[in-house]
Each structure stands twice: as C-alpha cells, then as structure tokens.
Symmetry: C2
DNA sequence: TTAGTTTGAACAAACGTTTGTGCAATGCTT
DNA sequence: AAGCATTGCACAAACGTTTGTTCAAACTAA
C-alpha cells in the first residue's frame, strides 16, 4: 500500500466533508457537526471532534460555503451599491461597512452604479439572483421605482446618503437641512449677502434638503433668496466646474458660494482658479463632505462634514437587525449630525 | 376557482424553476434550458421557450444563482483584497476592477485588510471557502507565505501594487524604480543636493524599488546617498507626519523630500506646516500617487503618478485569462509607466 | 402501410452541505 | 440479570440548479 495515507497534500485539494468522512471512517453528518461546532447539541464525543479538526487543520480544508449557502438559504453576504466607489465619501462609507460586516461574519459584494439609474437597477437584480441577505444602497436617487418592490416585499434594505421620502424604507443619512442652515448662517454671519449655491443632482433627497436649508435661511435672515443663484445638476467635478464658471460670470456680485459636494467644490475651485480669482479674497467657499486633505488646500476649506464612518456602521447594524428579525422589523430612519468645520476659505466682509 | 391564476404576485416570491415547471406543466429540465439559452442545443421549441420566458418576465423571477454555482462549480465571483479601500489610490483601482468584472459577468467581493497581515490571511481563507473563481490582491506585502500555496496550486491570482519577487505569481504594478529615478533626477536637476526620502513599509516590493531608484540615482549623479535620510516604515499619513518631523529636525540642511505615497505626503505636509515651514520655499516635495485634488494644494504637488485605472483593468484581464485557461496559463508580470506630473512644489535652487 | 428520421421534452443523477430522526452500544439502577 | 436511560454516531432527505441520456410522438419517404 506504500503508506498512501501519508502523502502530504498541500492546500485545498478539492477535499470536501464527504471525503473527510470517508478518510476517517465517519459519517458526513458527524464531520459537518464538528465543523459547525454543534458537537454539544448532537453529542459528538470530544475524541471524534478532535480527530476531525486535526484532519482539517493538517489538510487545510475549506468546506464548500456555496453548498452551505444553498442548504441554509442564507449567503451571509450583503450587497453594497454606490454611485462611485472612487469618491472618497463613498469609499470611506464602504470601508466602515466592510469592517462592520466582516466583524459580524458577513461578506460584502460591491457594485458601482456609476451614477447610472439603469445600471443601478441591473445591479439590484443581479444581487437578488445572488441571494444576498440584504442590500445597502447609496441610490442614484431620482427615482424610487427600482426599490418599490424590494421595500414592499420587506426585503432587508438600507439606503445611505440619499433616500426617498415616498418610500417607507430604512435609511441613514445626514441632517442635510440643518447642515445647510449652519453653513448659510455662517456665511451671513461673516458679512456675506450675495451667496450662490452649486447644487447636486436635482430631485435627490440630499440635494433638496440642502437647497431648502440654504434658501430658507436666506429668507429667515432677511435676505432675498434668488433661485437664479442656484445652479448645477450633478454631484460631479465637471458639473461644479461648469456651473461655477457660468455663475461667476453672470453674477459678479457674488461673494460666497456654497458647494453641495466635495467633487463640486473641486470643480468650483478649478473654475475660480481659471478665472484668475482667489479663495477667500475674491470668493468665499464652503462645501459639504469634509476630506482630510482639504486642510492643505491653497485656502483650507471650511466644510460641513458628514460622519462617514458612523453612516456605514449604523447602516450595517440596521441592516443586520432587519436580516435577523425578519418580518418583525420596523424601519429605521437615521439622520446624523453635520459638524461645521471652520478653516480659512471664508472671508469676513466688513460692513 | 376564483381565477386564482390571475392573482398578481409581486417580486421574487420564492419562485424557482421547479415551481415554474409545475405551473407550466413542463419539466425542470426544459425550464432550465430556456433560461440558460440552450434552446438550440437541446431543441426546445420556440413556442415553449416563449411561454417560459413570458412567465419569468411577468413574475419577475430570479433563478437561484447559488444552486447554479454549486452545480457548475463556478461562482463567477472574484475576491478583491486591498489594504485600505478608503485610500483613493486603492478605491480607484477597485472601481476599474469592479467595472471590468461586471462587464465580463463577474462580481467582486471586497475585503479590506486594513494593512494587517493576519487579517489579510483570514480574508484569503474566507474567500477560498466562498469559492471565488480568482483573487486580486494588493498585498500588505512583507511576507509571501500566505500566498505560497495559492501560487503553487496555480490558483488564479493577480497581485496589484505590491508583489513578491520570490513568488512566481502574476502581478500588475508600476515601474517604481524608474519612477523614483525620474523624481530624484528632477530634484537634482532643480539644484537640490540634500534630498530626503520618506519611505513606506519596509520590505515591500514597491518600497524597495523606489528606495533603490532614489539611492542609486543620487550616486549615479555624483551625490552622496545617505541612508540616514531615508526614514519611515508605513504608507500611512501618521508615519509620514512623524518621520518628517524627525527628519527635518535632525537634518536642517534638507531642501527636498521624496514621499513614497500620497498618504505619506499628506503627513509630511502636516509636519512641515507645523514646523512653520513652507512648500516649496523652505522644503521642496515630490510624492508618488497622483491625486486630482493635489492641484489645489497650497503648493500644487509635483507627483509621480500611477495609472490606477490601467492597473485595475489589466489585473482583471490577466485574472480572467488565468481563470478561463486554467492549467495552461502562464504568469504575467506587468509594470506600468509612471509619468512625472510637474506642478509647483519643487523650488529651483540657484547654484 | 411501414420503416426510418427528426422533433420536443422528461428522467435522474450530481454538486456539497445541514438536520430531524433512528438505532446500536454502553452505562446505570435495583 | 433485567430494565431503562444515556451516549455516540449514521441514514436519508432537502436546498435548486445543470446535463447526458432516453423516449414518445410526429413527420418523412418509399
């Protein structure tokens, strides 16, 4: 027999629990129960358990998780769909979700919708096929129809960043209205009267809330709120650039601009530079979404920050809660505080 | 009968192809073959195919992908493990990989190793259990032992960014040596003689290549290469900060510093600022890993750029090649060009 | 009409787990 | 020594697909 049993097999050489069972003269059942630590419940002797465990350790066997998923009807996987994983705002959220997920035994499969509604819908469908246990989505945000069925089926789902008023789904976002109020008041407090706003995607919750906060603050502070000073229709750098250009040419009296995203701010900065103007000497600027590197800018940016890490961990916790409690879960809507971080991009205008 | 068949069932109400078959009075086999577009091969009539397809469309059925994966022994999923998904360098790579993967019918599951070797190893193991078809890993990088078995088993695997000389695995990275040479020559060409280097994790391929490029260029250009001017042991912001502080205090004669990562540069900048010095007036700076926002810095940073998108797409293509060609695959080692992007963080020193 | 061919679909095994239940063998009690 | 409780493990079905093969019905040709 040449001691065949002593041949060393490296790595995961397609061993499965059936082969383990055969090699050890045990039943598949027993092996399975040892692996899943059910030895107590099913009275597997300590001796047998050790034999199995040693064998697995020596041969470095990784039991087939797919089969387990099929049998258990649970994949221990969640889907994460974001509009742009390369945007530090979303990648920071992704990081905290991944961390939280892993610490709770879940995997996350990543989908980048590229801010495209169609693609987003496709990703949702694909992830359903994959039988993810739940979804965390930073939706593109204009249209809730993709998610209606998911929500009405009570499928575990949490929106982050943007959400839908008309949909009774869980979400975690920031108190965007209050954030905008804070920023606008700060500008007014520093003497600014002609304040423009570079907005993001029209019709998204995030955007509406911020724009409303901005407009209503202007009015409550006794200034005129001029819709013409609100421009833009995307959270992107290019949109920020283009509209900053238009805005500053059209209304030279503008002394401050409120940017509704980090990318928009980058675009605005590019436009301002190109026009030969300076921040904050010529134009003051406040933006949403704080980034660590903002402090190193020519003029370190004053920002309204989102608590990305908290958004991520809360979102996962809510999702997990939904997954485990199933039908009995009641939707959670969470709005996190937005601290104003003062740096040097806002000039004080004397009266 | 109350026309029960007309009850509208919304969404994926746990329909599977068995129930479809039963509802339609067909066999599971037939339904499966329609779904997988094998109607030609198995001669399913167009009429039958249409009936099945219509039924699926109406009821919005998503066939169970898990069962398919089990049967097919292929998950159409790859694992992506990076040290820090919140680092724009890695998130950009992640984006291009996700894109490329989706366009080829693959999903990517995300793992953040948090620059921790232990965690990285665990992630690899977990992903093996999940039966990913392949792995793309930006390894922490000090120790190749985690991957030895994977490579010797010829498991589809591509390293990005960092890799291991001693391991015959595929990788996609940048020509780090040449990049460092370019940067160092640029500094010397601008009159700098005392050039320090803030390095990343010691013992990683990326770091060694860059440090060697730096040191050897100093010598080839007739300057003294001083090992004491090379400090640091991590690609992180905090490491950059700490070592910049030490370095600048210890050697006040330094006129330029070469940072081996974007995060290190951020840390160095913080230290320089704290010491009351200015870039480039007091200290010139070049860093690896270009970021779009570098142009807006107090002193727009001159950088040695990596082609993140190309790294990602190439890595996936190589991986796919390995997956489909199986045993017959021959390893690919790819080093992408690193363009030097000149901005304003390097001062010209007169002789 | 008969034999041969083509068409359209079904049977059943397999992928690798988990788990309710059954059943010897052993231990304990009196 | 007999009866009962406990211990330790195995049987077999189920999860939802895919696919080689079989087979009846319909068509074709002579």
């Amino acid at each position: 027999m040449f001691h065949l049993s002593r041949v060393v097999i490296l790595g995961n050489s397609s061993y499965n629990i059936q082969k383990i069972a055969k090699s050890l003269g045990l039943s598949v059942t027993t092996v399975s129960r040892v692996i899943s630590n059910q030895t107590e419940k099913y009275r597997i002797s300590a001796k047998t358990a050790k034999i199995v465990r040693d064998f697995i350790a020596i041969h470095q066997i990784e039991p087939n998780e797919i089969a387990r998923q099929l049998r258990m009807k649970s994949t221990k996987t969640i889907g994460l769909i974001v509009p742009d994983i390369a945007n530090p705002f979303f990648s920071e959220i992704a990081r905290s979700i991944e961390n939280e997920a892993r610490n709770n035994g879940y995997f996350v499969i990543l989908g980048d919708s590229n801010d495209d509604q169609k693609l987003e819908e496709e990703l949702v469908s694909l992830m359903q096929k994959r039988r993810v246990d739940g979804l965390i989505i930073a939706p593109v945000g204009k249209d809730s129809k993709t998610f209606e069925q998911l929500v009405s089926r009570n499928f575990p789902l949490v929106f982050v960043d943007r959400y839908f008023e008309e949909l009774d789904g869980s979400y975690v976002s920031s108190s965007n209205y209050e954030g905008a109020v804070k920023a606008t008041k700060f500008l007014i407090g520093n003497g600014h009267r002609k304040i423009a706003c570079l907005q993001g995607l029209h019709g998204t919750s995030t955007n509406s809330n911020r724009v409303n906060g901005y407009l209503e603050t202007l009015e409550s502070e006794g200034l005129i709120s001029d819709r013409n000073l609100v421009k833009g229709d995307s959270y992107s750098e290019s949109d920020g650039y283009l509209n900053a250009l238009i805005l500053l040419k059209e209304f030279p009296q503008i002394t401050a601009v409120l940017c509704l995203s980090n990318l928009i701010a980058l675009g605005a900065l590019r436009a301002i530079k190109e026009l030969g103007k300076k921040v904050p000497e010529d134009i003051s600027l406040i933006t949403f979404d704080d980034q660590p590197y903002f402090q190193f800018f020519q003029s370190p940016l004053t920002t309204v920050a989102q608590q990305m890490t908290s958004i991520g961990t809360s979102a996962f916790q809510i999702l997990l809660d939904h997954i485990v409690s199933g039908e009995g879960f009641s939707k959670q809507k969470l709005l996190l505080d937005m601290p104003l971080i003062e740096r040097e991009s806002v000039r004080i205008i004397g009266e």
